[in-house]
Symmetry: C2
Subunit: 137 residues, 2 copies
Amino acid sequence: MHSADAVESIQREMTVFARRARASAGRLHPELSLVSYTLLGHVEESGGCRATDLAAHYALDKSTVSRQVAGLERAGLIERRPDPKDQRVQVLHLTRSGRHILDRVTQSRRAAFRERLTGWPAEDLRRFAEYLVRYNA
Amino acid sequence: MHSADAVESIQREMTVFARRARASAGRLHPELSLVSYTLLGHVEESGGCRATDLAAHYALDKSTVSRQVAGLERAGLIERRPDPKDQRVQVLHLTRSGRHILDRVTQSRRAAFRERLTGWPAEDLRRFAEYLVRYNA
DNA sequence: TCGGGGTGGTTGGGTTGTGCAACCATGGGA
DNA sequence: TCCCATGGTTGCACAACCCAACCACCCCGA
């Protein structure tokens, strides 16, 4: 396989993956869309972040994030705390319920993934993940 | 990095990638969305296929494909030919114009990708593509 | 000190991609 | 000949987006 073909494949397969991921996420966890799940995960990992941070990291319009965040708050999964340093800012944090649901969904997603990746050598998994991170950096 | 973390990363980074791809595709080629481009590419590669084939391969609902195909036909990029073996079937083929646009967009996408992947050893590219194909298989 | 450009966030409006369900037409056996 | 399966279209609803306009607040320089 030449580099040009590899590039072609990467592009196409990523697209296929994304579509399937979204579809199956919707089926498995009606309570938490793939987008919500991703944002929720980011909020947890970051230990409190702003809507703008989410928008920048996921290349989303701030209006999109604003609405997603509103939905998550309405669902009681995150809460907004004022930033004492800057009155414009709302720092997002998971609620107890948000953490709980995130954990449940993560478990179940992980199980599905693991099944899918059964038989992959650990080394390949590691390298696959590393490629993706490097690409998106 | 342990396997569980790798799995987590793969999932997340794929999502990020997909979103960026869609956004940038829309910006670079307003005349051909990412979905259209993908389907068009598949039709060319297969050398004539049915809408149902597309739906199966991309895990899309047949109604979605039907509408996408209708759009591509309206745009003059593909044409439907009756299948002599089965009157229900419409075999999809690229038109001259479809082939032309597909080529142009492919060139430009490839250039963008290549720039992005500058500095990647060919071996890594090859392996990255292989992982993706294996995963989606 | 005050005015203005920059930044965080919300809202209104519109587009696109998608799935589900109901439907039609054709095909292929029992 | 009937009946079910299959390929495809259409109506309907919805989620995720983006852009533009807007408000509130921050901060820097004249």
